[in-house]
Symmetry: C2
DNA sequence: CTAGCTTAGGTAAACGTTTACCTAACGAGT
DNA sequence: ACTCGTTAGGTAAACGTTTACCTAAGCTAG
């Protein structure tokens, strides 16, 4: 139905190979007028090369798969958007997969992406430890973001955030403001993701000569729903004057729970988030948070991946993003 | 490198055609033991068919393209997520494109999707009128969501929202609460999208015997940045006690501007949004809004598209979603 | 005994590209 | 007159599938 390279070739009176060479700018040995004729036919017939056929023969699709736990989490929305933009700027496009933090879904997305011939994959934060055997078998260049990952030879880069420092800053910020009983809410307690943050939180207390009350800790997931229920649980169990939430979504859920109980933020209880999602400053009471430059890390991930695709001997990158405090009105 | 159908065939001692038949369940004429041998080899060698080769020959990729103006707008995040989920449930996957409301980007995404052989496209709300010639030429089954679109024969369905009623409800809600001077903030003033909403807004006033002051109208874009600047402009120009924002993102921007001037919501100025994005109830002061069942409309879009793909004579769907009011704490 | 059906599977073309290698003509240098 | 290079372009295989059509054997019915 659509125009193919053969249509162009026939109408130009040359072979398909010649057209292909011109289209791919490998036309040092093609005459000027043939070249022009081909280009004008391409315009006239609105010819666009069939990427599928091209991928089949070149074994490269110029597509990058991006796997995130849940795009509804505004943090991942921003990340995905940045990855997509970075990829397009370099002639790639992306295909997005939500794993819902489910190992089976993650594995099925991985094989899906492989069967669709993606050139590389960005595997973003998740409580999961990815299936090393599968990754090993697939042998697709990979960038890991904020997650535990085995040291595969198809690992192009790791982009991690210094969660220890982030959590340390977050707790210190509140301790300096005079808080003594600070709740800590984070994701899956088994994930290194959360363990490291907890370590930073505890270090801040240690350095300030403060104890850490285990009753003030609630870990489960990074979404707003957990923020809501964790805060309710904490309020029922104990008392505190501030909350360290390890994601902005958690902080949003927490604030709703505090309001429910008639507590106002930050007067009755201060709340600090983590991520600085673009919504944070738009809340009616703008949320204090830990900035982690989400878009920049997306750009880094895609950049590292494409550099690796261009040249697999390119030195692997290991980036550790340094978070900073942003004080708004909730603390 | 990866296992192909020929590897399976060789090891099973049959031809590739036989393997293909078994894999595709067209194996009525294949012996029981051959069948079993093939399946066990498939498992053993971790064979996954190469989707690219398959697409090339079958001319179907089981991929659906989704074009939105900007995934950072939480409304589209939810929509995209719903489309993706609906598609996966029916064995399709999606590929996402952000047009940034730019006609050139939209056109380039359209040809990109075409060259990658997507089976269908969901074209979501945008201030743009799509390039009818391009669409006509591409001949890819299409679902249009909340946008003006020519009546192409590849149009599988239209999913629209009854914006006139939505805006009417929104304004009436505020009028009933006693407001007399209500600002109206919406997207691109040229787009039918906005004109229709404005009509609903005006009808609510007419039916209540109230005049509409043109000074209270500001139209430009649907994002939070415009909400912020439009509200500043309105506050500088005139006075009002309530705002009809035609998207929740606008409402979020508006609330920030009101706070800036020391006005509290809803005491000094009520604000109502539109869309009921999932963040609306999480704002420290939960946002009143117009519900439009975003996920449901995503499901509808993908469902209509796939039905059309399955059977192009399937009756075209024209859905008009009916919005409702959700009162929270900003009104 | 043979026409015809069923069962089990093979053959080869096709999808739309890319690319390694070939050819043919022409001119220049020796 | 011959090699050699260059220029301009063609040939055909290859990528990994699917599928229309073929074959060959075995069986059954008349």
């Amino acid at each position: 139905m659509a125009t193919t390279i053969k249509d162009i070739a026939r109408q130009a009176g040359v072979s398909a190979a010649t057209v292909s060479k011109v289209l791919n700018r490998k036309d040092h040995s093609i005459g000027e007028k043939t070249r022009e004729k081909i280009w004008s036919l391409v315009k006239e017939l609105n010819y666009t090369p069939n990427s599928i056929a091209r991928s089949l023969i070149t074994r490269s699709s110029r597509v990058i798969g991006v796997i995130v736990p849940d795009i509804l989490n505004a943090y991942f929305t921003e990340l995905v958007r940045a990855c997509d933009q970075a990829a397009r700027e370099r002639g790639y496009s992306t295909i997005l997969c939500n794993s819902d933090s489910d190992p089976e879904k993650e594995a099925s997305h991985l094989t899906f992406l492989a069967s669709h011939g993606v050139d590389g994959i960005v595997l973003a934060a998740s409580d999961l430890i990815p299936d090393a055997h599968l990754l090993e078998r697939l042998r697709i260049p990979l960038v890991s973001m904020d997650r535990e990952i085995p040291d595969l030879d198809c690992l192009a880069a790791r982009i991690d955030t210094d969660y220890e420092t982030g959590a340390f800053l977050s707790a210190s910020h509140l301790i300096r403001a005079g808080h003594r009983r600070i709740a800590f809410v984070s994701g899956n307690p088994q994930a290194s993701n959360t363990k490291i943050r907890r370590a930073g939180f505890e270090r801040a207390h240690r350095e300030a000569g403060l104890p850490v009350d285990p009753d003030l800790i609630e870990c489960g997931a990074f979404n707003h729903r957990f923020g809501l229920v964790a805060t309710r649980t904490l309020l029922d169990r104990t008392s505190f004057t501030a909350m360290c939430c390890m994601s902005d979504m958690l902080a949003m859920g927490a604030t709703v729970a505090l309001r429910e109980r008639g507590l106002s933020v930050p007067e009755d209880c201060a709340v600090i988030g983590f991520d600085n999602i673009y919504i944070a400053p738009l809340l009616v009471r703008p949320l204090s948070t830990i900035e982690r430059r989400i878009s920049e890390s997306g750009y880094l991930a895609i950049g590292a991946l494409i550099d690796f695709l261009d040249d697999p001997t390119h030195p692997r990158r290991m980036v550790l993003m340094e978070p900073t405090v942003i004080q708004r009105e909730t603390t």
